[in-house]
């Protein structure tokens, strides 16, 4: 070891030789520190991983949105006209609640960890079918989600009426099919798509407005607008792909779900008011009002739980290891009381004794940390390939090493201080 100052250089040798006489004890500390670094670094890596995922923005005004579910039991709801009137009355009622900015009728529910999907491709190509999420919304859909139209236009009330009528006609009976087995009469539906899906379907950059998609029945989807901010954790990897068509979503069996956007901070109050108001409008159903924050909390429940457990474990582990170092150094001090006294009697200052123990511990810690870095990578590779998680980032290890260096020094400090206070007179006494 090349050194610039003389004093520490003189000390390394004796410390090393003294340590060699106590291989197991120092080996244990080094091993413990190595394992601690490996575990803590991997825990923190997994925590950061989970944090990143939880911090991912949906692109919507998550904090100020409510989900309202209305599930009818009154058989009157089985009739189409009744359903339509009930839906109109509901939307009007919700809109009149103070604090409500916007409401839409849609089966789309952010952060529930699912949704509906289909396969489309650029019309007229023989390209691959590309899976995308697909949802119906009315003209207030994007305003309610809080995701701006980036190109083209939003649906208007007429689009919604036209579309509702079209779906009603399609539901009335089987479609006549041609020789190819596909419907003879194709339909064209206006859609708003996410730019991510546009890039996927048309290879690269827009503009996408005005272009057409098709499904495997040959029906067409005319793109009238695009949105950019959209992320929904679907069970298949199509989180950023979505297509929206104009519709009002309701049925007897599926009920009528609404998304509501409220003024900041009005969520709780509006939720209560909406529930009461809607029940007053029509009592033949049950209602469930939840905040999107709550739904998101449930979606990430396990992740958050595991993260907090991991943090707890990491903290406890550093604590246990530090206590262990305190204990072992204390023994070391107790055992060497006479020698320390002798050194003091021969002229060593308190600071020399303190430095001796700190240096000794620092050397052990460093060996442990070097081993720990290897172990941490090993454990990470093992965990990533068999269990879960992402590759560990190296800055994490730098932080971990620094932290444990300090923890080791801090843990040694108390017993080392006690050693420094040993009186030189001890040397002259019998034990």
């Amino acid at each position: 070891m090349s050194t610039t100052t003389a004093a520490p250089a003189l000390e390394f040798g004796p410390i090393l030789r003294a340590m060699r006489r106590n291989k197991v004890r120092f080996g244990l500390i080094a091993m413990e520190i190595a394992l601690t670094l490996a575990i803590v670094a991997n825990c923190v890596s997994m925590i950061l991983d989970a944090r990143r995922e939880m911090a991912r923005p949906s692109g919507f005004d998550d904090d100020n949105m409510l989900s309202v579910g209305s599930t009818p039991f009154d058989p009157a709801f089985k009739e189409e006209g009744y359903l339509d009137n009930a839906l109109r009355a509901d939307l009007e009622a919700v809109r009149s609640v103070p604090g409500v900015r916007s409401v839409t009728s849609t089966y789309f529910l952010p952060w529930q960890g699912g949704g509906s999907s289909t396969e489309l491709r650029a019309a007229g190509t023989k390209g691959e079918w590309l899976r995308t999420q697909i949802y119906g919304v009315d003209e207030h859909g994007f305003e309610t989600l809080g995701t701006p139209i980036t190109a083209g236009r939003n649906f208007n009330a007429d689009d919604v009426e036209t579309s509702v009528a079209l779906f009603r006609a399609l539901r009335a009976g089987p479609r006549a099919r041609g020789a190819d087995g596909l419907p003879a009469q194709k339909v064209t539906e206006d859609v708003v798509i996410t730019e991510a899906y546009g890039r996927l379907a048309f290879g690269g950059r827009g503009p996408f407005v005005g272009r057409m998609l098709e499904d495997n029945d040959g029906d067409l989807y005319r793109i009238i607008g695009t949105i950019d901010a959209f992320y929904n954790p679907y069970s298949w990897p199509i989180h950023e792909y979505s297509v929206f068509f104009a519709n009002r979503s309701r049925s007897y069996e599926g009920g009528a779900p609404y998304l509501v956007r409220v003024e900041p901070g009005q969520g709780e109050a509006a939720a209560k008011a909406i529930e009461q108001k809607l029940l007053a409008v029509n009592g033949g159903r049950n209602l469930r009002v939840r905040t999107i924050k709550e739904i998101k909390g449930q979606f990430f429940g396990t992740k958050r739980l595991v993260s907090s457990m991991m943090s707890g474990l990491a903290v406890l582990l550093v604590l246990v290891t530090s206590l262990g170092i305190v204990g072992l150094t204390s023994f070391s001090v107790a055992e060497r009381t006479r020698q320390i006294g002798t050194r003091r009697a021969l002229g060593a200052r308190r600071i020399d004794i303190l430095r001796h123990f700190l240096l000794e511990n620092w050397m052990v810690t460093t060996v442990g940390l070097a081993l720990g870095v290897l172990l941490a990578y090993g454990l990470n590779v093992g965990l990533v390939s068999t269990v879960a998680g992402a590759r560990m980032a190296w800055p994490l290890l730098v932080v971990g090493v620094t932290l444990l260096w300090f923890a080791g020094l801090a843990a040694t400090f108390v017993p080392a201080l006690r050693a420094a206070r040993i009186s030189p007179a001890i040397a002259t006494r019998n034990v």
Binding site: L28, C43, R171, G173, P174, G254, T386
Partner: protein
């Protein structure tokens, strides 16, 4: 001699209470953490039907798009559920001892208006075999018989919870309950049945509570029941509405069969393959033959019933215990060596190495056992805390419980930790030469 050693060990622990607290506290923490996470994992991973699960098989067939495989992590896997038409055809086979297609649905229950408002309940539509197949426990009455499947007869099995809310918890067998648009006769009420993992349907959240009522599958058509589970499709239905769905390639039904012998398993696999090959002639099943008749435990693993995060936590917690054990080893080594003069005296007075060794190993095991006891208590606290969390997330009570195997595992871990930590220090200290320390005195 053992009790004498025990006595010595306890005396030794009392002599330095701060050190003993650190020693025992460290190992208690290690045991607590390892027990807590191993138990959580065990609750999710254990065999829900020991003895029975080996003969239960989950059936899948690949009716997906000719152009691309069923989406998901593994492109070799067929869809997780099957179509209605295939279920109907598979139900005709007599090879399985028992069999049931099934799905879950939201249905309205209308209790006596004096008792409460109508409420939407999660129901399972299934066949009579469901109950004996999955060893569902009954409190009152029992399952319906196979004839009731055919009718279908309006019979229903209620969970204990729904029986409590709809009938005040009395024996309601023989009484009627309105579900959806018709009256059902209660034929059975379940005993408290809360398997942590909903092992008969892990296509969605595996830790969901079981449904609160069970109806004959064939009410699907007359009541126009929609699934509340996943419905995966790749091809548009030939017609709108329910009839279109039933004739479509949509996969939304879970299919279980009970195959008690190896021969029946083989016979059933051939039957499913032959069925699909037959169907291929009509133009269905355009993909290569890819049928799966998967044993229950393998299916639960494939569906990752134990989340990766829990596995990671378990690994980390066992490593945590290893660190605690190393820590204990260091502390015991220091503690024993500090006692070297005393041991020198004992050795000089005739104590054999073996006596010294045994004495110290026993002291280590005493530390292990006391630490383990505190650790198990701590882990019970941890589990209670976890259960509070599960309650807010899933609305389920007492989800994680320490069972006997895990309690024994915890005791085993404590003894092991004590032994691993104690062997070296005990060996080291028994090699103290008798004379050396006498000289110093």
């Amino acid at each position: 001699m053992f009790f004498y050693n025990l006595h010595i060990a306890l005396l030794s622990l009392r002599r330095n209470s701060v050190l003993s607290t650190v020693i025992i506290g460290g190992i208690a923490l290690g045991i607590a953490v390892a027990t807590l996470f191993s138990t959580m994992r065990h609750v999710l991973a254990r065999d829900p039907l020991p003895g029975q699960s080996d003969s239960l098989y989950y059936v899948r067939m690949d009716n997906w798009d000719p152009l691309k495989p069923y989406p998901g992590d593994d492109p070799t896997r067929p869809p997780t559920q099957i179509t209605y038409q295939d279920m109907v055809n598979l139900m005709r086979s007599d090879i399985p001892a028992r069999k049931s297609g099934m799905f879950k649905a939201n249905l309205y229950v209308f209790p006596d208006p004096k008792v409460g408002r109508p409420s939407q309940q999660l129901a399972r539509l299934c066949f009579a075999d469901f109950f004996p197949m999955f060893q569902v426990p009954f409190r009152y009455g029992g399952p319906w018989d196979r004839q009731a499947d055919e009718g279908p007869e309006p019979v229903v099995v209620l969970s204990e919870e729904l029986n409590d809310t709809a009938f005040g918890g009395v024996n309601s067998v023989g009484r009627t309950l309105r579900i959806g648009d018709r009256e059902f006769k209660v034929v059975g009420v379940l005993e408290r049945w809360r398997p942590p993992v909903k092992f008969y349907d892990v296509t969605q959240l595996a830790v969901q509570a079981p449904e609160t009522m069970f109806l004959p599958f064939n009410f699907l058509r007359p009541m126009k029941v929609q699934t509340a589970g996943n419905r995966d499709g790749w091809k548009s239905a030939p017609a709108p509405g329910l009839e279109g769905l039933l004739a479509s390639e949509s996969c939304w039904i879970q299919m279980w069969v009970e195959l008690p012998t190896r021969e029946r398993v083989e016979a059933y696999k051939s039957f499913v393959d032959a069925y699909v090959i037959e169907q291929k002639k009509t133009g269905r099943f355009p993909r290569p033959l890819n049928n799966r008749v998967t044993p229950m435990m393998a299916w639960l693993q494939e569906q990752k019933v134990v989340p990766n995060e829990i596995n990671a936590l378990t690994v980390v917690s066992l490593l945590f215990l290893a660190v605690c054990s190393l820590n204990l080893m260091g502390l015991l080594l220091g503690k024993f060596l500090a006692r070297a003069p005393e041991i020198g005296v004992r050795r000089a007075l005739g104590a054999r190495r073996r006596d010294v060794f045994v004495q110290h190993v026993i002291e280590c095991e005493v530390v292990g056992v006391i630490g383990g006891a505190f650790g198990i208590l701590l882990s019970l606290g941890g589990l209670a805390w976890m259960n509070g969390w599960v309650k807010t997330l899933l609305a389920r009570d007492g989800f994680f419980q320490l069972d006997l195997p895990m309690a024994l595992f915890a005791v085993f871990l404590s003894l092991l930790a004590g032994l691993v930590a104690g062997l070296y220090p005990a060996w080291r200290v028994c090699r103290v030469p008798p004379a050396m320390h006498l000289k110093l005195q």
